[in-house]
């Protein structure tokens, strides 16, 4: 995917003015917020489990090489294959080769953010394969030629009306006068169309929420059942996933599963949690004949050795974006690369570089809600600050910002100069604002005054008021 993260500011401006997007966003992430709160309230152990999950993920990351080797051995023991890929190009090449070796023409695909990260569809289609997204949200995006705007609700930026228009355009072979008023009617139509694809597919590709070292299993967590049809009906099942997904045991996966759905959609558990281990066994009447796992690095090993290690605990629940005021205002596409919201602000610079994605860790009010809800207790604001520091140290901060920060730092180190300037400025602004006590326009602050008035200071600084108070109190005491 071609990043547009460097255009965050204009992306965000466009998003704020996009009436349909704003309609779609109104209340949706907010609904997920309320549902998460209700699920948390039903499980008193929830916050304790978050500590448990954090520690378990830390332990796994500290022994990542050992668990990955154990995992690989277990996959092979069950008759599966593991392919290691340093970057997206290698991962795509491995998947394409498996498809070609299988003589595949039609590939069905369950939801996978890693596949977005590596641009898999374009690569397979470029080689002449037909690729069909089977998650309903992803299917809608595929026919719109769009990318997901949320990691668990990929089409959250669309209204029902937009989907209806897409279906009428795309499914032109169906009667033009058919009813598509209820969401259920739209779902039914997609169901009919995708059924045929499931049945005809040669290869089924899914992602993985977790990998289990103990058993060599990959897990997908879904509600629709598309991932199950994808992997059970095709001849070959390919799992595209990344090295940070491994956990030691089934019991460890259990702890994380208790957190995942509750944090994501507020469900106690999703309708389907599926553990896949190797290809079909002797005597099995169904299931894939071959099972491949493609394990992607793509910069994760570097994050592991950096001050960003903690971000690798992420279980991709999406709670941080649901609770983010910036995400709620501009939606996911404004972030300009695969992972939106607070998690994207920390991950994307690691994957596409701070030069390209420098705007993202800056697009935060640091309100801290993301960290407060993250089931893995990832200190997202702190990690965004680390990216800001790196950006500054690497000279990638814009010139005007650097100058402003430098002058502020010079002043802050000299309290007398700071007080003097503050006093003079607030007086001057008080006078200049005139009777209204506010500015309609201010140089260097048009971002603010473009949308609202800037209230003028009242004339005296806090330091002055404080000194005056102290003096008053002292004279009262001495008068007594």
């Amino acid at each position: 995917m071609q990043p547009t993260a460097h255009d965050f500011k204009s992306n965000a401006r466009a998003a704020l003015g996009d009436k349909q997007l704003q309609d779609a966003l109104s209340g949706l992430p907010g609904g997920l917020v309320a549902q998460r709160a209700a699920a948390r309230a039903r499980l008193p152990e929830f916050d304790g489990l978050r500590d448990y999950g954090r520690d378990l993920r830390n332990h796994t990351l500290e022994h990542l090489d050992v668990y990955l080797e154990r995992y690989e051995t277990a996959v092979k023991g069950a008759g599966g294959h593991v392919h290691w890929a340093a970057n997206g190009d290698e991962a795509c090449a491995a998947i394409l080769r498996i498809c070609q070796d299988a003589g595949a023409r039609l590939v069905t695909k369950g939801k996978s953010m890693v596949s977005e990260e590596i641009g898999l569809n374009a690569r397979l289609e470029g080689a002449g394969l037909e690729v069909v997204e089977t998650d309903l949200g992803e299917y809608i995006l595929q026919i719109r030629h769009e990318t997901p705007s949320h990691i668990i609700a990929p089409a959250i930026h669309l209204t029902q009306g937009q989907v209806e228009a897409d279906f009428r355009r795309e499914h032109a072979h169906l009667p033009a006068g058919r009813r598509l008023v209820d969401p259920a009617e739209l779902v039914d139509e997609a169901r009919q169309i995708l059924r045929e694809k499931f049945i005809e597919a040669d290869v089924g590709i899914t992602g993985a929420n977790f990998l289990i070292a103990e058993t060599g299993s990959s897990i997908i967590v879904t509600n629709e059942g598309n991932g199950d049809l994808t992997q059970s009906l095709a001849r070959v099942h390919i799992v595209i996933t990344s090295i940070d997904k491994v956990v030691p045991t089934l019991d460890d996966a259990s702890a994380l599963l208790r957190l995942l759905a509750r944090s994501a959609t507020g469900q106690e558990i999703t309708s389907y949690t599926t553990f896949s281990t190797g290809p079909r066994r002797d005597g099995d009447p169904d299931g894939p004949e071959a099972y491949h796992v493609v394990l992607l690095d793509n910069g994760r090993t570097e994050l592991l050795g950096s001050e960003f290690r903690e971000v690798l605990r992420c279980i991709r629940c999406g709670a941080c974006m649901n609770h983010c005021p910036v995400y709620n205002a501009v939606g996911g596409h404004a972030y300009g690369w695969v992972y939106p919201g607070p998690i994207g602000a920390v991950l994307n610079p690691g994957f596409i570089g701070i030069k390209e994605a420098g705007n993202l860790p800056n697009a935060s009010t640091f309100c801290g809600r993301c960290e407060a809800v993250c089931p893995m207790r990832i200190p997202l604001p702190k990690l965004m600050r680390h990216w800001r520091e790196r950006e500054f140290a690497g000279g990638d901060t814009p010139f005007t910002t650097r100058m402003a920060l430098k002058s502020w730092a010079a002043l802050a180190r000299r309290p007398w100069a700071y007080h003097l300037l503050a006093r003079l400025t607030s007086r001057a602004m008080r006078v200049a604002s005139g009777r209204s006590g506010a500015f309609r326009w201010l140089p260097f602050a048009t971002g603010w005054t473009g949308g609202r008035d800037f209230p003028a200071p009242q004339g005296r600084t806090f330091q002055e008021l404080w000194a005056a108070r102290q003096k008053q109190a002292a004279s009262k005491r001495s008068a007594r």
Binding site: D65, Y67, H83, D228, P248, E268, S271, T277, D284, T301
Partner: protein
């Protein structure tokens, strides 16, 4: 399939990059032992009070949680009652009196002969099957979840292609937590306990991808009936 040279190189370089990032050396006995210890000991998070509190009725909890997730749950005394329950459910939902199941011995023993015009088929699901019938390996009370193991006894496709999925859950195999179900798997299926597919099913297929409204019956079953049976 043999590993091409390039892929082997990527494997080794990823593993050595991980070690470099962790400041670790290959085959460090202390690190191997720490991982081995966790793999052997299989520590568990504290079980939720909703199932761990003493005196918990696991069957009641299982039933309540599964109903919250929009499945129908019926308790029966045993195999003799199940065919009538199934026929009643299919009729109530305007479904044909026809279903398919695998070689599961308990399910194969169900006698549908008393129900006029009832048809049973065997094997993996076909695209036009209306109802699939499976037996659960275990029930999990904490979230009203059923664990199903794939194979000739219970083909995995029965739970996803048909519009209706019916699962028989032995009352005696309803355990408290996910971990309890996994312990049962290890105990009964030996050192490599996992079937090709282990499904944890906790409700019918659903989606909220269109306008955020929940719709039941996305790609998998539109309805789910769980029958808790007392004679197993």
């Amino acid at each position: 399939m043999s590993l091409p040279g390039g892929a082997r190189a990527s494997r080794d370089s990823i593993l050595s990059k991980i070690r470099a990032s962790l400041g670790a050396t290959p085959n460090d006995p202390a690190r191997l032992a720490a991982a081995e210890k966790r793999l052997m000991a299989k520590p568990r998070a504290a079980a939720p009070q909703r199932v761990a509190a003493s005196g918990t009725d696991l069957v009641a909890r299982f039933t309540e949680e599964l109903q919250r997730q929009l499945a129908t749950v019926v308790a029966t005394a045993g195999a003799g009652d199940i065919p009538a329950v199934i026929a009643g459910y299919l009729r109530a939902n305007n479904q044909p009196l026809r279903l398919r199941h695998g070689n599961d011995p308990y399910i194969s023993s169900l006698d549908f002969a008393g129900i006029p015009d009832f048809e049973t088929l065997k094997g993996r699901a076909a695209p036009d099957d209306s109802t699939g019938l499976s037996a659960a390996f275990a029930g999990i009370a904490e979230t009203g979840t059923m664990a199903l193991t794939s194979g000739a006894d219970n083909p995995v496709t029965l739970g996803f292609l048909p519009d209706t999925h019916i699962i028989v859950v032995p009352r005696s195999r309803i355990v408290a937590t996910y971990e309890d179900a996994f312990a049962l798997l290890r105990q009964e299926r030996g050192p490599t306990p996992m079937p090709r597919t282990l499904n944890l099913i906790s409700g019918p297929s659903r989606t909220a991808d269109i306008g955020g409204r929940i719709v039941i019956g996305a790609h998998g079953p539109r309805r789910l009936l769980a029958i808790v049976t007392g004679d197993l």
